[in-house]
Symmetry: C2
DNA sequence: TGAACATATGAATATATGTTCATATGATGA
DNA sequence: TCATCATATGAACATATATTCATATGTTCA
């Protein structure tokens, strides 16, 4: 009764048990995969990509970034919060001004690999 | 009139012109940043992350993947299409069965860097 | 203390997106 | 050719999310 090993939602009756079992054994734990998706979701927005690229070059205040991207301060602030929660940026206050900078060494590698993928084909 | 150089949407009057200009010069072109966000958006979903992780281990057919993830065939097929459009997977037909496998060498690096980020802190 | 300014935040809105359901397509074998 | 099976696809629905607006917070300086 090979069929019994499959989820009810999959209507197929002939699949490759050995393959599925082998893969199942090496799959990372659910939580890790969820976190990974959450991380990439943060990168999956043009505004945040732009902010990160800007911060590759220099620490910037919220207003700098808003001016650079021609977006309003609130939108930038909201996105910086997302980046901060993902521990991708950090900030420091200097008087009224809040400066943001990158807080992760892996981002650059990830971006470079992504750009390599894009430039192919 | 420093204010005139800023977008109307940014209400700040005191920002760092030099920084903004310097950053503006090194920013990648708009289209490239858009493509990069689109790529990461593909990685920003748990189902697709799981599919990719599974394919790290072995080529699989649609039904295999559906069984592995306990999801229905249609959902998997839709997501495989997204992955294919992003040129992350390729497929080959063998009779009625369509086998999918990874079609990019950078994915593994990107995932590993992402996992490094997650495991920190 | 109060005005001015940079930033943060909550609510609302519009848009994007993942899954499901129903059904179409394409291949096999009798 | 017809039934069966694996996969693909379009429409619909529910949910997530980015931006805007209005306003709050926190700092500086007079």
């Amino acid at each position: 009764m090979a069929e019994k090993t499959y989820a009810d939602s999959c209507l197929c009756s002939i699949i490759h048990d050995d393959t599925v079992n082998k893969v199942r054994e090496v799959m990372p734990e659910e939580e890790k995969l969820y976190d990974l998706a959450e991380l990439f979701k943060v990168f999956g927005d043009t505004t945040r990509i732009k902010i990160i690229c800007a911060l590759f070059e220099s620490e910037m205040c919220v207003c700098d970034i808003a001016a650079l991207l021609s977006m309003n301060q609130s939108a930038i602030s909201h996105q910086l919060r997302v980046l901060k929660q993902a521990r991708l940026v950090k900030n420091r206050r200097d008087g009224k001004v809040m400066y943001y900078s990158l807080d992760d060494d892996h981002i650059k590698h990830i971006f470079d690999q992504g750009l390599l993928h894009i430039s192919e084909g």
